[in-house]
């Protein structure tokens, strides 16, 4: 069912919009929450993975005999233990994944494509035996030249990763394989004419390095393959149904025989919307006959799980002297890692999404490289293209002598304007976010020496998709809200709040739980900023169905027509004045009589939520640069965002602050460093530098609410927009502070010091 609510409820809300303490909070801060690595089963074995030390090589042979013979080793697997899948696209995550590529990424077959690529795995009775077994596996490689830099990979003479990969999206079909998996193009109007009309042009070439989602909890799972073929998996994942589907496809099993329970998750940010360990753990469990636990080390997370793309961005803008942009050309080259599938498509569609440009061309290249297969990272693709466009816009403002917010306002998209990616915008709050930062005291605060201020904006689509929610009322009048979406951002609390609002219960009486694949109907995974929107819609509808049922029951008890019953503040109220002596029937009172009035009280709703509202953000960043050390200090950061309606404002603020923190890290210090052999040099948090708490000021979020009419409370997705503007916001602030445009991220101290010396 995909019914649309008539109008979002925004008046007289009692729970939605307040800030109750999150239900999972106490367990998480006291260390009691059960994460994937905390889970144990009797007789459990430890699983570990043998990984390639080469960035690109043919696997000549794998000898596992000695490992199998070692006492305590119960299973050893290689690609030979998996079906050889034909190339097939399947949608289980959020976008179609090529199943064959996914399976090959989990376990290499024939070739290894990055340092860290899994080639074999073992299950043993202890961690040290598993380590010893890995050391006994002999793999013979025929090392091949490798390529990691995106432009080097695009060149004609580059080592080719896949002999059967031919560039898609070209006019004439190519006859030679390439590392360019796909070329896409978005166009409007007449680019040449547009630039001819321009009175001012700015150009820039920008680069970003591969960065990791940086979730604090490494991947972990426990898998149990019973002799009767029933499988159970406990996994740290953003989507238990996705895990089930992928495991079924990769292993050739029936999905109905696999039950996946999501454990508490310590961050995902898109990096856990795929599988790495689960198919291997199941295969090891099948072979050994015992449950198998696999937990990645931080080094494995870096070497073998998806970062997002490193990229090259080229931007050219043309505008009139009054600031109206007449033409824009953007070229994007994104690393996909070992298999095709970088987010260059989304990067292309979002690049100009904030601007109403009459003539443009955006070209994107998806390029495979000998580095870990790229995975989704919070607004995948968008921060990268925004970095280029927003830096160029900053230069344009400077060239025109125009205030940067005014320049964006001049070219802003608004309701009724066609988006750069096609459809016409409706109910967007972009102008409101620009007003919010323009009016904020931060924008007028004075700056001192070596300090600079930068502004940048960003966009993300947000998605809807399939969700199921079940609400059950207990005999004491409390309620349980069951959904299938792992909670990565506080959504669980928001589900409870929406149900509490509709039912008229205090939040303490509503308990949200996240259920496994056998206990709740299908839900698309948690990602794409969809959960509060889509699953919230299902929760609200389920609660509304219950209210309809409660009124019917009250009418039955009172013996009045159901039209005479209303539901107010958690109780049935009789509207017939003549029967006013009835008194209200609370939820608890009705629950106590449920057997007599039709049975247990509950409802389930499954829907495909449509009409997710896109989000816009506008940020201001102040920095101070130490000209002698090149050190950048973030002095102040303000981020305005249109969220539709903040169901739980503290978690909305948390999402904004978290996205900004990741964007700042991306801008200042994070990058993958590879040596000449193609091995990652900084596969740990010591040298892969995410911001620490003392690196950041308190980030001030400004919640702007332009309701999404398609959601019962007006909510739009929140989690991804905030990471889009910071890369350019920081770079623009540094430009203002040191007087030189820096185009290559990260802006680490040695780079800044070198630029200052050359100034």
């Amino acid at each position: 069912m995909s019914e649309v609510m008539d109008r979002p409820q925004t008046l007289n809300l009692k729970v939605v919009g307040t800030r109750p303490i999150r239900p999972d909070g106490a367990d998480k801060v006291t260390g009691k929450a059960t994460f994937g690595a905390d889970f144990s089963m009797p007789g459990m074995l430890v699983g570990k993975i043998k990984r390639s030390p080469h960035a690109h090589a043919r696997i000549v042979s794998i000898d596992t005999k000695k490992a199998l013979a070692l006492a305590g080793v119960k299973a050893v697997i290689t690609a030979a233990d998996f079906p050889d899948l034909a190339s097939e696209e399947y949608e289980a995550g959020e976008s179609a994944a090529n199943l064959r590529d996914l399976a090959l990424n989990c376990m290499a077959r024939g070739k290894v494509l990055y340092d860290g690529h899994a080639v074999a795995a073992v299950a043993a009775t202890s961690s040290s035996i598993a380590d010893a077994a890995l050391a006994l596996i002999t793999v013979t490689y025929d090392v091949l030249p490798h390529v990691i830099d995106v432009e080097a990979a695009m060149e004609a003479g580059a080592p080719v990763l896949h002999a059967h990969l031919f560039t898609e999206g070209l006019e004439t079909k190519p006859d030679r394989p390439s590392n360019i998996a796909k070329r896409n193009e978005l166009m409007r109007g007449d680019l040449e004419a547009g630039f001819a009309q321009a009175e001012v042009t700015v150009e820039g070439r920008y680069t970003t390095a591969a960065v990791h989602q940086g979730y604090i909890e490494p991947h972990a799972c426990v898998a149990a393959f019973a002799p009767d073929g029933q499988c159970q998996v406990w996994s740290s994942s953003q989507g238990q149904f996705m895990v089930r589907t992928y495991c079924a496809k990769i292993l050739g099993l029936e999905a109905s025989n696999i039950r996946v329970t999501p454990t508490e998750i310590g961050g995902g940010f898109g990096g856990k919307t795929t599988v790495y360990l689960e198919p291997l753990a199941l295969a090891l469990s099948r072979q050994s006959g015992a449950p198998v636990k696999m937990v990645m080390t931080r080094e494995e997370v870096f070497r073998a799980t998806g970062p997002t793309s490193g990229a090259v961005i080229e931007v050219k803008l043309g505008a009139k002297r009054d600031g109206a942009i007449t033409a824009a050309r953007v070229v994007l080259k994104y690393q996909a890692g070992a298999f095709p599938g970088s987010p260059v498509g989304a990067g292309s569609m979002t690049a100009l999404a904030c601007y109403d440009v009459p003539n443009f061309s955006v070209t994107g290249f998806d390029v495979v490289t000998n580095s870990p297969k790229v995975a989704a990272y919070r607004a995948p693709g968008a921060p990268i293209s925004a970095f280029g466009v927003e830096s160029a816009m900053d230069d344009l403002a400077r060239e025109l002598g125009m205030d940067p917010i005014a320049l964006r306002r001049k070219n802003a998209v608004r309701d009724g304007v066609k988006a750069a990616y096609g459809p016409t915008f409706r109910n967007i709050g972009y102008l409101e976010t620009l007003e919010a930062i323009a009016d904020h005291p931060h924008y007028k605060a004075p700056l001192g020496p070596n300090q600079g201020r930068g502004v940048a904006v960003g966009f993300w689509f947000n998605v809807g998709g399939e969700s199921t929610a079940a609400v059950q009322v207990g005999e004491d009048g409390s309620a349980v809200v069951v959904t299938g979406n792992p909670d990565i951002g506080g959504s669980r609390a928001s589900m409870a709040m929406m149900a509490a609002e509709v039912l008229g219960l205090p939040i303490e009486k509503v308990r949200p739980i996240v259920a496994d694949t056998a206990s709740i109907g299908f839900s698309m995974l948690t990602g794409g900023s969809r959960t509060t929107f889509a699953t919230g819609m299902a929760v609200t509808q389920a609660a509304q169905k219950i209210v309809v049922d409660l009124k019917r029951r009250a009418a039955q008890i009172w013996d009045v027509p159901v039209e005479q019953v209303d539901w107010i503040n958690g109780a049935a109220v009789c509207l017939d004045a003549a029967k006013a002596d009835k008194g209200d029937l609370t939820l608890a009172a009705l629950a106590a009589q449920s057997a007599r009035t039709g049975g247990p009280i509950g409802a389930q709703v499954s829907l495909t939520a449509q009409g997710a509202g896109p989000g816009f953000g506008a940020h201001i960043c102040d920095v101070e640069v130490d000209p002698e050390t090149g050190h950048v200090t973030i002095l102040r950061y303000t981020a305005a965002q249109d969220v539709g309606r903040a169901i739980h404002p503290a978690y909305v603020e948390g999402q904004i602050q978290g996205g900004v923190a990741q964007g700042i890290g991306w801008a200042l210090n994070e990058e993958y460093v590879f040596d000449s052999e193609g091995r990652m040099e900084n596969a740990g948090f010591l040298d892969y530098r995410v911001p620490v708490a003392s690196d950041l000021p308190m980030i001030e979020p400004i919640i702007v609410e332009v309701a999404n009419p398609r959601h019962p409370f007006g909510a739009k997705g929140v989690g991804e927009v905030p990471i889009v503007p910071p890369l350019a916001a920081v770079a623009n602030a540094v430009r203002a502070a040191i007087g030189v445009r820096m185009t290559d991220l990260p802006l680490s101290p040695p780079k800044i010091r070198a630029v200052i010396d050359a100034r």
Binding site: E89, R183, Y421
Partner: protein, 82 residues
Amino acid sequence: MPHVVAACSTCRQFTDGLVEFDVEADSVRRMIGELDRRFPGLGEHIERRMAIAIDGEIHQDAHGARLAADSEVYLIPRIGGG
């Protein structure tokens, strides 16, 4: 009748470069069917790889969605979030 724009380069390989069409259909399901009839293979391509924006709202897997006579329909690649 609804006006359909294929806002992506991958569709063009089915339509020989054509990007805009008027399609006689009152639902998404019928629109996909009609497009597949005109350009064989495009139907499956849309179902697997594309999202559909109807009058500005993005829909995915929305066979039942109704199309009005003046609906503006955009075919855009499916977006994956993080």
